[in-house]
């Protein structure tokens, strides 16, 4: 909403109309309907929603955030989105077949994540929440390592400092402070200040914005000018709690209260997500951060495979968002521009199916970890106490092996 007048303008005749002399901004209250309408407004978006590719696949131009995109680059973004969606759907199926304990679906958020992920440079650092399979893909994380978390064989096997992608963080909002501290370190190290600089990008959802840690991270990052891009994927739902349970202002507008820039981007538009993320990272790199991006998107599937969205949201809503699909609009645009032909789309689909098949095979063949692994790496140096517990437990297990006369 380009002109959020209802935040600031008193409305005569309402029971809580402001008393003369009372600043309107604190006294005027929008009705619940106005709040919801404001939060959910996306069509054309007014000037506030950055969009470069419409749901119909038409390229539109933005005065501040336009980008030049080569056919090859756009085909690459399309491929990324198709592959991560395919991996996501395969993981969802694996969970339904009992191969994963739980899965956190990405469906619908491909454009936000691929746009942001591809905007980062190798030296930038990313701090994910737990749905960032698309960002992980962009950082070169093997999707099988993501599955190992949900299969229960590991907590994430990659080296976060080598991949420049932190471990998945399950506790809502914790990673925002960790990212801010990391970004403070980048500043202390003197790697911020020009376009060669480093930046940090942290991912969280609309529900996380209610957490104290996210607030504290924004305070901290503002106070210390930390080069951190807060990338909020507003997918409209925090499990069953809708956006209006988290806020009464559009989330990107909160940035102004902290004294830094906030912007809302069409999170189903990979071009806009890429352009806005590049801009925000550049702001941070050059020392003008932090920045808050609200990627306005929609979770098309459940929060996790353990919940049932039909209990809390309307089918109409889902149908409306299907029309905004992030992959279809790129496909339409590629076809209209004659930047891709049927052969390309078939090849990408074949690659996606191959990825899914590999992922399935790796997943079902993942060995269970040996019991001794449980005791490793609790501390840098193993304690005598853990040594003893490990020895005692392994010896206990050995007793079973002996009596059973078989392998454990």
């Amino acid at each position: 909403m380009s002109s959020p007048e209802y935040w600031t303008q008193p409305r005569a005749g309402e029971p809580d109309a402001p008393h003369p002399g009372v600043p309107a901004a604190t006294a005027a209250r929008p009705t619940a309907e106005q709040v919801i309408a404001g939060l959910r407004e996306t069509d054309a978006g007014g000037a506030d929603l950055v969009q470069l590719l419409t749901p119909e696949g038409e390229r539109v131009h933005h005065p501040d955030f336009d980008i030049d995109i080569s056919p090859e680059e756009l085909r690459g973004l399309y491929r990324d989105m198709v592959l991560v969606r395919r991996a996501d759907r395969e993981a969802n199926a694996l969970q339904r077949q009992g191969q994963l304990g739980i899965w956190v679906p990405l469906l619908g958020q491909e454009a936000a994540q691929i746009g942001a992920g591809r905007a980062m440079r190798p030296t930038d650092m990313a701090f994910p929440s737990y749905r960032e399979h698309g960002v992980a893909w962009c950082r070169g994380i093997d999707p099988a390592q993501i599955l190992s978390i949900f299969r229960g064989t590991d907590h994430g096997g990659w080296n976060p400092l080598e991949k420049r992608f932190h471990l998945y963080t399950i506790v809502i909002g914790n990673q925002c402070l960790n990212a801010t501290g990391y970004a403070m370190g980048q500043k202390f190290d003197g790697v911020v200040g020009d376009s060669e600089g480093e930046a940090t990008m942290v991912f969280f959802g609309d529900g996380a914005t209610s957490q104290g840690d996210v607030h504290e991270a924004m305070v901290w990052s503002a106070v210390y000018d930390a080069p951190v891009v807060f990338f909020c994927q507003n997918n409209q739902w925090a499990i069953s709690e809708p956006l209006e349970r988290q806020t009464r202002v559009p989330l990107y507008q909160r940035a102004s209260g902290y004294g830094f820039k906030g912007i809302r981007v069409d999170g189903n538009d990979v071009l806009a997500s890429l352009a806005v993320s590049r801009w925000a990272l550049e702001e941070c790199r050059s020392g003008n951060g932090p920045v808050l991006i609200e990627a306005f998107t929609y979770r098309m599937d459940a929060h996790t495979t353990s919940d049932d969205p039909t209990r809390y949201r309307l089918a109409d809503e889902l149908e409306m968002w299907k029309l905004k699909d992030p992959i279809e609009r790129v496909k339409v645009y590629l076809v209209h521009q004659q930047w891709a032909d049927a052969e390309f789309f078939e090849a990408v689909q074949a690659e996606a199916d191959e990825l899914a098949a590999q992922l399935r095979e790796t997943c079902v063949n993942m060995p269970d970890p040996a019991p001794a692994q449980m005791f490793e790496h609790v501390y840098s140096e193993q304690t005598a106490q853990l040594d003893k517990q490990r020895a005692d437990y392994l010896s206990y297990l050995d007793g079973f092996a002996t009596t059973a006369g078989g392998e454990r």
Partner: protein, 340 residues
């Protein structure tokens, strides 16, 4: 109070000694650590210009600058959470939590992230963060300023927990904690900040995660940590006048516990009294009780007894003399142990 004897380096030249308080010793220790390693940062509320509410960080910002001694916004989760990020970037942050009862807003970051990142990354991430916590009562403060939350952290795998009780330990232990690659919860006995002892900065300190026998004795073993160590030493001095020889052990390391000297002592004396200000239920003292009976069952001549705070919230300060273990309650427990 007599400082514990340190193993002296035989090659030592002229000892550089001075009489200092625990607060000053911590200050000197922090200074030494910051001089030794430019990656060491001090961060917390009021640690800069004010030098901390207990002045433990006095003068550090003046000498090391605002980037290494960071006055933070007032939010404990923010202090711990950003310290974790700084550690990921290669720094070694030393966080100050102003008072024990204020650590709980930071509890989530401590137990959910700080404690677990090394494990979750299978050893690929090191998070060398020290969290300094002035703890315990006896200063006549309002509520939330006199608590003993150490058991929460000892209960959490991945954290190391220590408590100093005297200036010599304070000086060395803070430096050792900062050098440790694991996160360390560092508890400081706030009612003892002004206790003085002779500090020789040229000796070689013993290991950090080790308990230490401060006074030899054969009648009853008495083990304590932090503020109650002095109480026990005073009790031992009083008992000696009546011909009783108490063996006093300063536990120092609360996680991992170093109970070797306690087992050895109990095997000789057959008796153990544990002294702590913390409420007894599900605490450090209950853990020690279990492990001593597992290891020394046939040596025990009496049940293990505890002198502690009570299972109440910390009371209003006019009642804290009743809440806190004192010399008489320790001697009473010793008497009960001997009378079994």
């Amino acid at each position: 109070m007599a400082a514990p004897t340190m193993d002296r380096d035989t090659e030592t030249t002229v000892p550089k000694t001075q009489k200092v308080t625990i607060g000053k010793a911590l200050n000197l220790g922090l200074r030494a650590a910051m001089e030794a390693d430019p990656k060491v940062l001090v961060m917390g509320e009021d640690v800069g210009k004010l030098g901390g509410v207990f002045r433990v960080t006095d003068g550090l910002q003046k000498d090391f600058g605002e980037q290494r001694v960071i006055d933070t916004p007032l939010a404990e989760s923010g202090i711990i959470g950003t310290a974790i990020g700084l550690a990921l970037r290669g720094y070694r942050p030393v966080c100050e939590i102003q008072f024990d009862g204020f650590i709980f807003p930071g509890f989530d970051q401590i137990v959910s992230q700080l404690a677990k990142l090394h494990y979750r990354s299978r050893g690929q991430l090191k998070i060398p963060v020290v969290v300094r916590v002035p703890f315990g009562g006896g200063i006549g403060a309002v509520e939330h300023h006199s608590e003993s939350p150490e058991s929460y952290f000892a209960h959490t795998a991945g954290l190391k927990v220590v408590a100093c009780s005297n200036p010599v330990d304070a000086y060395w232990m803070i430096q050792q904690a900062i050098r440790c690659d694991d996160p360390v919860l560092f508890f400081e006995p706030k009612q003892r900040y002004h206790e003085k002892a002779e500090l020789d900065t040229t000796v070689t300190p013993g290991p950090l995660f080790a308990s230490r026998v401060l006074r030899k004795g054969s009648s009853v073993t008495v083990a304590a940590y932090g503020p109650t160590v002095k109480t026990c030493l005073d009790a031992a001095a009083a008992a000696a006048e009546e011909g009783l020889e108490l063996e006093v052990i300063d536990l120092r390391a609360l996680s991992p516990l170093d109970l070797g000297p306690v087992f050895e002592s109990v095997r000789r004396t057959g008796r153990l009294v544990l002294v702590s200000e913390a409420p007894p239920e599900a605490s450090i003292t209950s853990e020690i009780t279990t492990r001593v009976q597992e290891e020394c069952f046939y040596s025990l001549e009496a049940p293990i007894l505890r002198v502690t705070g009570f299972d109440t919230p910390y009371p209003a300060s006019k009642l804290e003399d009743d809440f806190l273990p004192d010399l008489d309650r320790v001697l009473h427990a010793v008497e009960r142990s001997l009378g079994w």
